[in-house]
């Protein structure tokens, strides 16, 4: 049943006023300055008795603890809002703060495991311990306050609105996993090799768009679903909203400073903003062996997608398409919409470790510590042993757990479906959901309402490497098949 539509928007800065430890990557980074502000943007929707809030955050991921604390905090601050209908998702920027993160799916972190294997006279040294750096617990509480504020403001600012859903096409995300002729795979693999066979998956240049207008038919905000994480400057040591920040700047130049942009990352666990075929190296060196190239060739292609110029390039591409499609959107505005929202828990089987894999992981860590020739260990050692420590953590977890419950939201908003998942979901799962969905457009929101890392395909598991290891995510392709089936069923029940 169609009802009049009430929509509210809010954006709150989460730019810290002190240094922070930056989340993501396998080396320790502390923010040196603010390249672009980071923020959280909330859109609250109400139609009839149904409601939905989506809050997109310039963060690497959304821990269940953050989600629960925000919901708890909102319970006595707002009236009429069902806090279970709140969706909080991450754009996956790697240039935002590290915060204390917790949730189901693991008994302990890889660092906890590594520390256990250190002999008594050995110590683990945190590099970043200074009073002018925000502590992860402080960062968590800071985020709870800001996200709560954004959602409260959006909910309380609901007004009669119009909307139009549209479709655009922009090349942003590209596959980042390279397959060689022996069928092994590698994230960031070198393609300038005779044994390079193929990229493991395709990419998706389609972007789903939803424009929102006020009563006077002035554009108030736009929802943008792109199959690419926001991680152009993922190695850098500054605060940045990556390409989404540039999209906001460029769209506000066109539509006004009060425009809201809700950036949503579609299924893109195996995607990145870089062209692995026409590889363009960083403008300034990055100390990461995975992106070093032995026989580098200068390419006339994109600007470096490791640097600020790259964020502007991607930002311009997306903003230009949104501006271009706007003229079509204004021609068919809707002011009432069917809104249906289900929140379900899906039990996903955890991906298990064999006893052989467990024993090999234990031996690798023991040998590493024995041969390290030192008694002080650091973040770098944790990064080196991350895969093995993660394998041990999973082995221990599976002794008492077979499944991991995940929160999934399915929303019907007129012709449009929104479907969430808490993974870095590989593209092909998103393709399967979108192709089988009865909705005219399906917005897939990954890294939402929980953080369970990568969900690789069967092909990726066979090719292995980072993002497809057991330790790279709580579940594997069997979980992916369940997620797709349950999501498609739930969407199609609404049509």
């Amino acid at each position: 049943m169609k009802n009049k539509l009430l929509i509210g928007w809010s954006e709150v800065s989460i730019t810290p006023d002190k240094k922070v430890m930056l989340a993501g990557q396998f080396f320790e980074r502390v923010s040196e300055y603010v390249e672009t502000p980071i923020s959280v943007t909330a859109m609250a929707v109400e139609s009839g008795q149904e409601q939905m809030v989506i809050c997109s955050c310039d963060l690497v991921s959304i821990g269940e603890n953050l989600l629960n604390l925000v919901r708890e905090s909102l319970r006595d601050k707002v009236t009429g809002l069902d806090v279970n209908k709140i969706i909080i998702n991450a754009t996956h920027t790697h240039t935002a703060m590290l915060y204390e993160i917790a949730g189901t799916g693991s008994s302990c972190s890889s660092l906890d495991v590594l520390k256990r294997y250190l002999p008594k006279n050995n110590v683990y040294v945190e590099k970043v311990v200074s009073n002018d750096t925000m502590h992860p617990h402080g960062a968590l509480m800071f985020l709870v306050e800001k996200i709560t504020m954004a959602i409260k403001n959006a909910w309380e600012g609901r007004k009669k609105s119009y909307y139009a859903n549209e479709f655009g096409r922009v090349a942003v995300g590209m596959c980042r996993r390279v397959v060689y002729d022996d069928k092994t795979a590698k994230m960031w693999g070198d393609t300038n090799l005779a044994n390079f066979d193929e990229l493991e998956s395709g990419n998706d240049s389609g972007i789903e768009l939803l424009y929102v207008f006020d009563e006077n038919k002035k554009l108030t905000g736009v929802v943008v679903n792109v199959a690419c994480p926001s991680q152009v400057v993922e190695h850098r040591s500054f605060i940045s909203s990556d390409y989404w920040g540039k999209v906001r700047i460029l769209l506000r130049k066109k539509f006004g400073e009060d425009l809201f942009v809700l950036g949503l990352c579609s299924a893109a666990g195996d995607q990145c903003p870089r062209d692995i075929i026409r590889w363009v190296r960083p403008e300034t060196p990055i100390d990461d062996p995975n992106i070093k190239r032995e026989n580098y060739i200068e390419r006339n292609a994109d600007p470096s997608m490791f640097d600020i110029n790259g964020t502007w390039k991607v930002g311009k591409r997306i903003a230009n398409e949104i501006i271009d499609v706007y003229d079509e959107a204004v021609q068919h505005l809707c002011y009432e919409s069917e809104l249906m929202h289900t929140v379900t828990t899906v039990d996903i089987p955890i991906r298990r470790v064999t006893i052989t894999e467990y024993n090999a992981a234990v031996k690798t860590i023991e040998d590493y510590i024995k041969n390290a020739g030192k008694d002080h260990f650091s973040f770098t050692d944790n990064a080196s042993m991350h895969v093995y420590a993660g394998t041990i953590a999973r082995y221990e977890y599976q002794q008492s757990h077979d499944i991991c419950p995940i929160e999934v939201h399915i929303v019907r908003f007129g012709d449009v479906a929104f479907a969430t998942n808490p993974f870095e979901l590989f593209l092909n799962y998103g393709n399967q959901i979108r192709a089988r969905s009865k909705a005219r457009q399906t917005f897939i929101i990954q890294l939402a309402c929980g953080s369970h890392a990568y969900l690789p395909t069967k092909k990726a598991e066979q090719g292995s490497h980072y993002s497809a290891y057991v330790s790279s995510g709580i579940t594997g392709h069997q979980g992916g098949e369940i997620l797709v089936r349950k999501t498609v069923e739930a969407i199609n029940k609404m049509w």
Binding site: F167, R169, D197, G206, N431, R434, A435, A439, R440
Partner: protein, 156 residues
């Protein structure tokens, strides 16, 4: 002034202009109508126009130019005796419905072409194991052009 456009297709044997994921749900204008051609033409023209100023600023006439033409010999993909027998059996069944091949249309024509291709391959592979392909490689400053006579799959 006339501006000439020299279109070239990069490896795209397995590519086409339609979105098989969103088929009929979003971009539904790519099925043999003017709207789809206009949409694609606009995208390509926009990209060319967008880069025009940058190209003009670095236009040059003094550059390295090399052109090599080579014949290379590729192995013929062979059909097995089983495939030939399968094609013959199906061909005979198909022709029971027709007086001659010229009458055949539609899906049956696709089948006929497939069977005929298998018969022809059988004949050609008995005469030679390789066939000749003309290959051009051109260096034009910092750019390379390479040709092939195939509908080459994108991964190649």
């Amino acid at each position: 002034m006339t501006v000439y456009v020299l279109p070239q297709i990069a490896p795209a044997g397995d590519q086409f202009p339609r979105d098989l994921i969103r088929r009929g749900k979003s971009e539904n204008n790519m099925s043999n109508n003017f709207e789809g051609m206009e949409e694609l033409g606009t995208r390509v023209a926009d990209a060319v126009v967008k880069k025009y100023e940058s190209a003009r600023a670095k236009a040059q006439s003094d550059l390295v130019f090399n052109h090599s033409v080579e014949d290379i010999y590729l192995p013929i993909r062979k059909v097995t005796q089983g495939e030939v027998e399968w094609a013959q059996k199906n061909y005979d069944e198909l022709m029971r419905n027709y007086n001659n091949e010229q009458e055949i249309r539609g899906r049956d024509l696709v089948k006929l072409v497939d069977y005929r291709a298998i018969f022809l391959r059988k004949e050609s592979q008995e005469k030679a194991s390789f066939y000749k392909v003309e290959l051009h490689a051109i260096r034009l400053g910092e750019a390379a052009f390479v040709t092939n006579p195939f509908e080459l799959y994108i991964e190649s």
